[in-house]
Amino acid sequence: MDLQGQNGLDNTFRESWRNRGVVAWVVAGTLISFYTLLYFGGDLGLNDVPALNFDVWAQAIGLPSRWHLYGLLYTVGVVGGGVYYLRKHGNSRYNKYRIAVNVAVQVLLAFTLPLVMALFGQGSYYFSYLWPLAWYDFHPGHLASIPAAVAVWTLGGALVLAPLMAYRYGKRWYCSWVCGCGGLANTFGDPWRHLTATSTKSWKFEKVAVHTVMFIAIGSTFALFLDAFAGDRLPAFHRIVDGGQWWSVKRLYGYVVGSILAGVIGTGLYPLLGPRVWCRNFCPMAALLGLQQKLGRFQITVKPDMCISCGNCTTYCEMGIDVRSYAQSNESFTRSACVGCGMCAHVCPRGVLRLENLTRKRNQGDKARQGLPVVNL
């Protein structure tokens, strides 16, 4: 039978591994060490120790490189977490379909396809990652090196498809259905979603941080572009942008944004700060899609005067949005941060919230819905 809403009661705050207990710290420590070794093992001179060199591990099980090993572990995390998620929340169709697509994209597009291509000696393409998340995608050298059809996808996907879809359906089409980072957050990371900070302070930090990274991502993409065409004539500029030193824009962006913010911190802190640290505070793609969503048709509709202020929505919002504050003031809303995971609507015990892609008709319905005369204040 198809049931909406939360299936049974959760015991999030009774299970110590889900509430910053010892196990949570151990898992976080393990994840952080793993990412540090993965990204910085070479720089830290640890790759000489075979046990700490993931390339060695990868070859031991017949995978071409540490990145394929990482892909395998990632996929195991998404599949395993997906099973956990579906057991907990799979009674509702939105959750079921969404996670199924997420897992399928990870298994097929983000893991199997690149692996097969690598095994056949081809370059690997990750079709489910778009610029500016796949920040280097727009580098002219990169675009020139890939088949024309892939280049068309790379440009069209990022510049046409993504904004159009975000306008029509909200950023959820990417952040909660397709993206690998979102996929991991909503599967492997789901047990910790209530740990996302909801304070006003965290919101202020998010707004500054995520838009800063977005501007840096866009600005540095322009810089790369400029460098590709005019770098010969501007040697100093070329040195800064793509000179090969650790402090060049290209390498610094890779280290700071790609490795530290997305990996070490973004995933490493799942068990302590919730699964969307990266998506919420640092992901340039999320910021850009968020602006498009804000202009678009997606909204969370609030039933008037039905909210009992219980706080389930706010607690389980992985983006730290204070959904309750909108619900208790009868305000339907579109927040640029909202990834449309649907959990606020799912856990609401009074069915107050609904994710919607507005159409003209619904808009009118919405007007009719506003004036519920309980008291004429």
């Binding site: 207990g21 039905m306 607690t315 005369p373």
Partner: protein, 480 residues
Amino acid sequence: MRVVIIGNGVAGMEAALEVRRREPLWDITIISEESDHFFSRTALMWVFSGQLSHQCIEPLERDVYERLSLQRIRARAVGVDVEAKRVLMAGGREPVPFDQLLVACGSKPRPGPWPGSELAGIGNFVTHQDLAWYEAEVHGGPSRGGPPPNADAHLPFSTPDSPYRKRDVAAEARGRRARDVAVIGGGLIGIEAVEVAHAAGLHPRFFIREEWFWPMAIDRAESTWISERMRAHGVQVHLEENVERFEGERSVERIVTDQGSYQADAVVVAIGVVPNTDFLRGEGDMPLTLDRFGGVVVDERLETSVPGIFAAGDCASVRWFNGAVRPEQLWYTARDQGRVAARGLLGDTAQRYARGHWYNSAKLMDIEYTTAGLVNFHVEGERNWFFEEKGPVRSTSRIVLSGDRVVGFNFLGRRWDHAVLIRFIEEHRTLSYVLDHLNEARFDTEFVPPLHIPMEARLRGLSEGPAPSALPQPVAPPAV
């Protein structure tokens, strides 16, 4: 101007916020015995299960009192001296002077009438302290989210008859946590207490005096499904069974009914709530007029029999949508009353409290419930249209008509937008119009297929008279 508010619940807090919005300089003091912070009483069950922490159920950030300079007193009020304009306090605390007063002291659990009710291990599920007791019985203590801050700070300034006193825990005396939990009373608080015991891995017994669960709100056919779900989850549902007494040494050991005797380690009595107004009776004259329910009598501006003193929320006897005057124990009405009372405190004489249409929603185990309008109300020329959907989605829909006019809705299994339902009622729609347009009120989550009503069910579903299994007597709509 000194405004004093007794009660840090939704009514009191809404009033405080509204007064502060208008009057940045007035002195506002909130007296609350139960807790330091305003919290959502409706959410106690999720704190018990561990789904939410205490902080999660606080709708406002904790610094709101400092930010808006709302002063707090964490102690029990034991009376109001109307002449001297002072609130009298327990534990030898100084009386609190006021120019204007709002009484928003909420409800307390209705006590069980049965012998043995004073044994340890018997409690309720209404206050923070009830929650702490129930958690201690079943879980051995609060979740990792911790107890609320300063949980016991009020104890030196309380009285033995307070609903916020600390309870004896049978589990401590017994040396093991409760295994056999019983819940008495088939209403919303009862089913919540059952649900959380089930979530804790127990198989609670649910004693219901009536023929079926929650007869005020749902009819037999609807209720059968709920009972079925409860039983499927391992709840032992005892219908039409009357509790007679509790037995045990110091703690409860058995619960005896007219049909048997059962082991019980912990018993939650959930047979309703009554206005928490005993302290207003105080010693000597009773300045504020209370009605036979114990509710504070108020006029349409929510002013009591004493000018300058207002009452709002669960403790006030207000005019219901059907004209009856009695306390109404609901979150949204308490909130609205808080706002109206605030206008009174601000000296606005035009503001009236006017109750709109009845509506509500709930979740009964894992089944969604929505109602709007006059259901189980025995309206003139009543007819009921009923449809049970089976298939990928299971649901029931009941539409109540008065003559040809649709006047009420009762739904299980799907989510509906009560605002649209109320629009149908206000527009005096016919059954066939409503059935044609029902999906406009759909509020299901995405991808749930719309409700499809086959043509023959549209006709077959209609029966004359009240719902076949509704209560014989007209009843007031259910509060909790």
